[in-house]
Symmetry: C2
């Protein structure tokens, strides 16, 4: 194991952001290749070219490191509340983000990470729990806030069950990531997302669109 970048730990020593990035990327790669059982801190540190202690200084457990690594790999995917378009114009937000969401859906590592994460329950419940608590639940709260504003603006039915809608949207995307054809392309992924948002009623009130054009 290379220890070139390692320095003695000490109070007040600033964290090295480059090392953090390298560790997160290495953790993601090792997780994709080896699964949770094989993704040891030792192997991740070696891949990142740092000492184990450098990893432990920042992450207290393998679970939190892997949960953060998965999240870092998702960071390139913008959320609905990260555009300047107001939530009241949900169809506008969707149009704006569709190209990036479509690209994300065909990234092999996202497909692999999703499979690893959702398959982790039986053998690695603490990992799944850490990811759910630190990442999934906060993200759901943000999505709920966006959907509430869209509902209040009349884009969604007044009695829409927003929590369930999020499960249906997330669930369909997971079906696509885990079960779709082995060689999807961004155009096919975009078509899938457009159909999903339409069937979910997120493209605006149905009354605005004549049935023949839907």
């Amino acid at each position: 194991m290379s220890t070139k970048r390692e320095q003695p730990p000490g109070p007040g020593r600033p964290r090295d952001p480059d090392a953090d990035t390298a560790i997160l990327r290495s953790a993601m790669e090792v997780l994709v290749e080896q699964g949770f059982a094989g993704a040891s801190i030792e192997r991740i540190a070696k891949r990142a070219g740092v000492a184990k202690v450098t990893v432990y200084r920042r992450w207290s457990s393998k679970e939190t490191l892997l949960a953060d690594a998965i999240e870092a790999a998702r960071d390139a995917i913008p959320a609905a509340d990260e555009t300047e378009t107001p939530a009241e114009d949900l169809p506008g937000i969707i149009d704006q983000l569709l190209p990036q969401w479509s690209e994300a859906l065909v990234r092999p590592e996202l497909r692999m990470l999703t499979a690893r994460l959702l398959g982790a329950g039986p053998d690695h419940p603490r990992l799944l729990a850490a990811y759910r608590e630190h990442h999934l639940e906060p993200r759901r709260e943000r999505a709920l806030a966006t959907l509430r504003r869209a509902r209040d603006a009349g884009v969604l039915a007044p009695d829409a069950d927003l929590d369930m809608l999020i499960d249906m949207l997330n669930g369909a995307v997971v079906q696509y990531l885990l079960l779709a054809d082995d060689t999807p392309d961004p155009a096919a992924a975009r078509d899938y997302l457009e159909r999903l948002f339409r069937q979910a009623g997120l493209r605006g009130p149905a009354a605005d669109t004549p049935p023949s054009a839907r």
Copy 2:
């Protein structure tokens, strides 16, 4: 390994249905406990109390055996076309099957099997492909046929995207199986399914129900 139940293979020798049942049950148990990597034919045969050759006489590969074992564990869950209620009365079918579906959703082994199966892609793509081809796709065709009849009868909108609707329904159920609270009960599962079917528009035309009652 016990070989007490083993007999010499020979042409015309009838298959033993009890052995088949024991093998499928053992395969499911070993898969739940050990995952795909640990679910060897040898271990499954030993658990079932049969010789390996008895397993191979019936299943040519570990992939097909495990796919059949997962499906056997699902067999207790009735499909929408297995009631005597016609597809035109989709809300009636749902009411009829909700108790059994709710019970299924809280069965620990179904939750474990779903996680194992959907997590299998990266390391065991042939298993996932075998399950998709032999079980998921035929079941989807049957569901599509039921939904088409319901749509033609006016239960669903004429322009409903039925294939997408199935992904959204399956996807939400998978979210519930893999990510819900650790100790769900059938009443909570039933409430979840009722909300899902309502938001998906499967409880009949919205115009029939005043918003305040939905």
